[in-house]
Symmetry: C2
Subunit: 390 residues, 2 copies
DNA sequence: GGGCATATGTTCTGCGCCACAACATTTTCG
DNA sequence: CGAAAATGTTGTGGCGCAGAACATATGCCC
C-alpha cells in the first residue's frame, strides 16, 4: 500500500473488526464452539464470550451444549448462526432467467422465486419491478426485512449498481442499484456475474483455499472474475475487468465491443456452437446436451472435434495466468459442461506454456462445482460482505 | 474479502496502525503540522501529540515552530521527518547497470553507488557480493544501519527474494533475498522491476492520485506492475504478473517463454530496434537517441515509421485496460522515450476500442516522469512499506 | 465410584489507547 | 489592548481486550 495515508483507527473499531471476523467465520465456516472461535480468531475466552453474548442477545446466534466428545475438559458451547435472524436478498439477472432468493446468515436458502423471459424481451424497468415484488413477497413470508440486497448482472457494472452496458440484456445505462434500493428500501450492491461467480467459488465453492483465483465463465459472452489475496479485484470506479474482451486473435471476428478477435468471439456461446457443429444461437439445452454427449465419448473424439476451441481456450488462459498469477482457475456456466478432455488439454497447455504457471507451479484448472448456482450465491455473499461488517 | 476469517485485533494494534499511518504521511507527503496530521488522520490533538512525542523521543522526527502564517490562532508545530534516523538500502539490479542507494525517511537520497557490467557477464554471487559491500560502505558513511533492504530484479521473483527466472540477466533460481539478508543482516524484500516501477510512480511519481494504475515498461523485455485500490497486485506465491508474456499475436515470433507472439516480441527492445530501423541488440544509447530524434520530427513522421509498433502497443494496452480497468497507465523505461505522437495514438486506440475504458472514462496513458529512477525508488519504497509498519 | 487432570465457562481486575473537556498559549484582527 | 480563534497541554473517562482466579463439566485411571 502507498499513497495518501490510511485514516486513523479508534479503539471501538477493534470491537467492530472482531465482531465482523466472528460473524464471517460463522457464516462461511458454519457452527462451531466458542473454544474454536477463540483459537481461530486468536482472541481470549473472555472476549469471545462478550462478543457471542452480544450476538445471542440480538438473536443472531444461539448457544447450545456441544454434543461431540473430544476428550477431557468441560465441553465448549456450540455457537449456531440463526439464518432467519439475518438474511439477504440475492438476485441473479440472467439472459434467459431471473432468480430472486432469500439467503440466511450461515448460507441457508430460505426461499426462491424465479421466472423465465425470452432473451432480450421486456424493459429493464419491468424486470426491476418484478424483482422488487418478488423480494417483498419473500420478506413477507419470512416475516422480516433483509439486511441487504446483492444483484448479479451480466455486464459492465459499477459497485453502486449503475449498469453501464449489458449487451446480452440489451441494457445500457440502467441505474439498477438506485431503482432496487428505492423499491426495497435497503442497501443494494450490484456486481458483474463472473465477478460474483468468483466470489461464490471462493466463499462456498472449490476455491475456498485459493487466495488468488480466477473464475472464467461463458454464459452468452465471456466473463471473468478475479480474487486476489482473498479479495475481489476491481478496477477504477468499481468496474470489474472484462476478460472476455481481451483480444487473442488480432484480425479475427468482429466483436460488438469494437475490436476483432476478442476471446469472446473465439470461446463465447456462438463459438461453442460452431465448435459443436450447431447453428449459432441454438437453445441453451441443445448446447449443453451436445457437450454432455461429447463428454461421454472417448477423450480423443472430444479433443478432435473441439481442437480449435480448446486452443483458443488455452491461449486465453495462458494470458490470464501470466497476467494475474492465480493458483486456481475455475471454469463456470457453459464452460463447466466442457468434456474433461478439453479442460485437461487446456490446463496442460497453460502448464507448459505459461511462464508464470511454471514459476507458481501446480496451477489447477477445474470446472465449477457450483454451476448455475454460482451467480446467485455470489450475489448473496456480496450483500453479506457488507451486512456482516456493519 | 471472504474465505477464512481475518484474525482478531488487539487494542495495541490500534496504536501501531495509527503510528504507521502517521509515518507514511510524513514519508510520502513530507513535513506538515500537528494540526494537519490530526485533520488528515482523523485523530484527536492529544493522540497526535502522544504519537509525535514518541517519535521525537526516538529521533525519527523533529518538531519546530511553524513559520507560515495561516490566520488567527496559535501556530501549529511543524513535524519534520529525519532522513538519517531511519533509512533503507535500495538496490536496482539492471541488465547493464546495478545501483545501490541509501534512501532516508522522507525520501531523501543519502548516497549512491553504481557500476556497469556488460550484459550477462559475471555470476550472480559476484554481483550479490558487490552489492553487499556497497551497502556496507554506505552504512559506514551514514554511521548507522539501514532498517531494511529493497531490491529490484528484472525477472520472475517471489516476495521473499527467490528469483525464479531473470532471462536478461541469465539468472535462474537465485536466492537473492536469502543471500543479501545474510550479507547485510537486515530484512530484504525483492520485487520485479516493473512492479516496483508501479510502486514508485504511485508513491512519488505521476500516479499518486490514481488508486488503480498499471505501469508498463520496456527495459530489454516487457514488464508490468499493477496497483489496485492503492495496493500492489501480486499473484499466488507472491509472484507478480508478467504482462510481457501476454500473447497478442498467435503464431508470431517465438519467445523464450515457449509461446509465440508475446507482447514482448512485438514491443520489446528488439521490436523497438526493428521499428526504428536499427539492428537488433543495438546499444541502449543508440535506441534512445533514435527515439529522441524521432520525437523531434513531425508527429506524422514518427507515426508512419512506428505504425506497426504503435498498433501492437495499443493492442496490448487494450487488453491490459480491459482486464484491469486502471484509470492511469504509465509507460516506463524505453517506452518513456517514445515520441508523444506514438503515445497519443496508442492512447486514442485504447479509448476508442477498450470496452472498459469507455465505461471508466478518461483513462490516461502517459510517459513515466521518474524514468530510470523509478526502479530504485520503488525498491526503496518496498523496503519502507515494511519498515514503517513495524 | 472417587479422585485427578483437563478444558472451558465466568467474573473481576488491570492496562492501553483514544476522545473529550478544561485550561494554557500564541497569534490575528478590530 | 482585548476579543476571537486555533492549537498545545494535561487530566479524566470509557471502551476493549488479556489475564488471573475461581467455577463447572468431562474423561480417565485406579
Amino acid at each position: 500500500m502507498s499513497g495518501p495515508p490510511t485514516a486513523g483507527t479508534r479503539p471501538d473499531e477493534v470491537r467492530r473488526h472482531n465482531r465482523t471476523a466472528l460473524l464471517r467465520r460463522l457464516h462461511v465456516g458454519g457452527p462451531c464452539t466458542r473454544a474454536e472461535l477463540a483459537a481461530e480468531l486468536g482472541l481470549n475466552r473472555s472476549t469471545i464470550k462478550a462478543l457471542v453474548d452480544g450476538l445471542a442477545e440480538a438473536g443472531v446466534v444461539v448457544e447450545q451444549v456441544s454434543v461431540k466428545r473430544t476428550g477431557a475438559g468441560r465441553p465448549s458451547l456450540l455457537v449456531l448462526p440463526q439464518p432467519r435472524s439475518l438474511w439477504v436478498l440475492a438476485v441473479d439477472v440472467g439472459v434467459e432467467q431471473t432468480t430472486v432468493a432469500a439467503v440466511g446468515f450461515g448460507g441457508e436458502v430460505l426461499g426462491t422465486r424465479g421466472w423465465t423471459l425470452p432473451r432480450g424481451s421486456g424493459s429493464p424497468d419491468d424486470l426491476l419491478a418484478k424483482i422488487g415484488a418478488a423480494g417483498r413477497r419473500l420478506a413477507e413470508r419470512i416475516g422480516s426485512e433483509p439486511v441487504g440486497v446483492g444483484v448479479s448482472v451480466p455486464g459492465v457494472v459499477r459497485r453502486d449498481g449503475y449498469v453501464h452496458e449489458a449487451p446480452n440484456l440489451h441494457w445500457e445505462g440502467v441505474p439498477v442499484g438506485e431503482r432496487l434500493s428505492a423499491a426495497l428500501n435497503r442497501p443494494v450492491l450490484v456486481g458483474n456475474d463472473a465477478e460474483l461467480g468468483a466470489l461464490a467459488e471462493h466463499t462456498r465453492g472449490i476455491a475456498t483455499e485459493a487466495a488468488d483465483m480466477v473464475f472464467v465463465s461463458v454464459d452468452v459472452g465471456v466473463g471473468g472474475g478475479v480474487i486476489s489475496e482473498r479479495a475481489a479485484l476491481r478496477g477504477s470506479g468499481g468496474y470489474v475487468g472484462e476478460l472476455g474482451h481481451m483480444v487473442v486473435r488480432p484480425g479475427g471476428r468482429p466483436c460488438y465491443c469494437g475490436c476483432q478477435g476478442c476471446w469472446e468471439t473465439e470461446i463465447g456461446e456462438d463459438a461453442l456452437c460452431r465448435a459443436l457443429g450447431l447453428p449459432e444461437g441454438s437453445p441453451r439445452e441443445a448446447v449443453v446436451g451436445e457437450l454432455r454427449s461429447l463428454a461421454g465419448e472417448e477423450p480423443q473424439v472430444a479433443l478432435t472435434r473441439m481442437r480449435e476451441f480448446t486452443d483458443w481456450l488455452g491461449l486465453g488462459l495462458i494470458n490470464v495466468v501470466n497476467l494475474l498469477g492465480p493458483q486456481l482457475v475455475v471454469l463456470g456456466d457453459l464452460l463447466a459442461a466442457l468434456p474433461d478432455a478439453v479442460v485437461d488439454e487446456a490446463a496442460e497447455t497453460v502448464r507448459e506454456r505459461s511462464l508464470v504457471s511454471r514459476a507458481v507451479g501446480g496451477i489447477r484448472i477445474v470446472a465449477s462445482p457450483l454451476g448455475k448456482e454460482a451467480k446467485i450465491i455470489g450475489a448473496a455473499e456480496l450483500a453479506f460482505q457488507q451486512a456482516l461488517s456493519g
